[in-house]
Symmetry: C2
Subunit: 332 residues, 2 copies
Amino acid sequence: MKEGRDDLLAALEGRGWQSGAAIAASLGVSRAAVWKRVERLRERGYGIEAVAGRGYRLVRDSDLLLPDAIRKHYRPTLLRGEIVHRTTIDSTNRLAAELARAGAEEGTTVVAEQQTAGRGRLGRTWVSPASVNLYASIVLRPGIPPLDVPRLTLVAGLAVAEAIRDSGSFAPRIKWPNDVLLGGRKVAGVLTELEAEADRVRFVIVGIGVNLNAARADFPPELRRKATSLAIAGGTPVARAAFTGRLLTRLDAAWATFLEGGFAALRHRYDELHGLVGVAVTIDGAPPLAGTVRGVDDGGALLVEAEGTIRRVVSGEVTLRDTYRALRRGRA
Amino acid sequence: MKEGRDDLLAALEGRGWQSGAAIAASLGVSRAAVWKRVERLRERGYGIEAVAGRGYRLVRDSDLLLPDAIRKHYRPTLLRGEIVHRTTIDSTNRLAAELARAGAEEGTTVVAEQQTAGRGRLGRTWVSPASVNLYASIVLRPGIPPLDVPRLTLVAGLAVAEAIRDSGSFAPRIKWPNDVLLGGRKVAGVLTELEAEADRVRFVIVGIGVNLNAARADFPPELRRKATSLAIAGGTPVARAAFTGRLLTRLDAAWATFLEGGFAALRHRYDELHGLVGVAVTIDGAPPLAGTVRGVDDGGALLVEAEGTIRRVVSGEVTLRDTYRALRRGRA
């Protein structure tokens, strides 16, 4: 379902009451056709009043993640591909990969109201209730070898954290590599997938899930203490399409900086939002590594101080040794 | 077209003349059905004589890459997946990836008589005429990060070179990372593709093309000086299914060694067949690197001596500075 600019919507926006006859004339259709199309816009989430003798009036923008609505908040410089919207889908990453395989250009973005098989890192699922959160997958085509892809995922994590910071009085913290937390609870995650030759990336799919307006009851019981949303943390709902526009704007800008100067050019911004600095952690592995995080290096590796020496950690699961207390204090 | 063991074939193999009535009785079908199935076997490349009053006789095994025929020469220890045969296909790598995405187990192998869109490295095409060569793609599921995949492609190149050496008096030479040459001309190539999360491989497809019985006229004019086949080099055709069995056997064994001891455990075997050692090369890049190859290291990187120091090359296109003369001399 590719959705272009809707001329009926354009006829209603910012204009108060419009008679059905006037709209029908300007669009060159019958009044019955106008009524049918109003119904369709309502199904897409728009609030449109209809009163006999006065006509129609737009009272509420759609809260759906419609491409038009997102574009109002997004002027990309690099990531110019199409935005593809689905009401429900198995996995936005799956569809984005399918489009990329068929040649979709860099920046092609799949957004969905709901995922029925949302994927998280390491084969986990991503809880994806309908029409409250953001599930987006972006096609990137960087000219890099597969070994550089992990630092690209840090770029995405940074963009998510910055977009959340842009959205109110939030103090998001990144948990390396690319989880984003609010008050020690997970609010967003990034799943980066790639298809490549052994030494050349064909495309990368950056999948981003952000809990925007989910209520506590939208999470399964076992996640309720670990997960949060912007609405839970901030106390008021977030305009989803506007948030998506801000996120894509941040990603577009971070991507340009990364292509120009590598992760080194973003490191200070990452460190500013990094919640693990100074925190005691354990990194899984054989044997596990216990130490205190000192930051990240120019290659995006986590720097962990253990027994007086700094160790570079390229991949692995980080566990906080004091549960989430350290991160909950934050540094804000 | 999955092909199981054929009971008619079993009734004919190694038995000389068999009457149609006897075969029909043993298979529990009509004599007309036997005749129809003989026709189908002939379409699959089997030579079956039919003489009134004597019956049927198998005079020539199929030269098609049929799973049954391959299995006669292949007893895998690790790579136990199904062998899938196609008469014609766009790309064996493409189908293998599709099967892997749907959950195909490690070792699942796609072989084809012909590819209509055979792929080579770096987006190139792989010339894939019908029923003379081998095009095979194997699904691997190693528990490694994407950055380790390049050394896995060296394992495949080694297996191909060893299988060619097993096939007669050939002296194959590997051109790092994984081309295989005979007399300085390319006889085989490996295209390794992967799908992964940023730090975890989901599956790898090892695509192998070996020019077996191609005649010089089967290559486009621009490749005739650069490419060869086992039949051109050795003067006699190669039994294709038997070669495929030998190749998979070598790959299965090398794969086991790699999983056990990493590339380090295969390095001496690789060096034995490596044609670039001592050869003056240029590696593309900005700037290009000119030097003399000294071998590979335990991580599979090419060691190039330039201006008195050894440089590790992880990826890149190697150009021989004396065209292919050096490699043609070989070291055999």
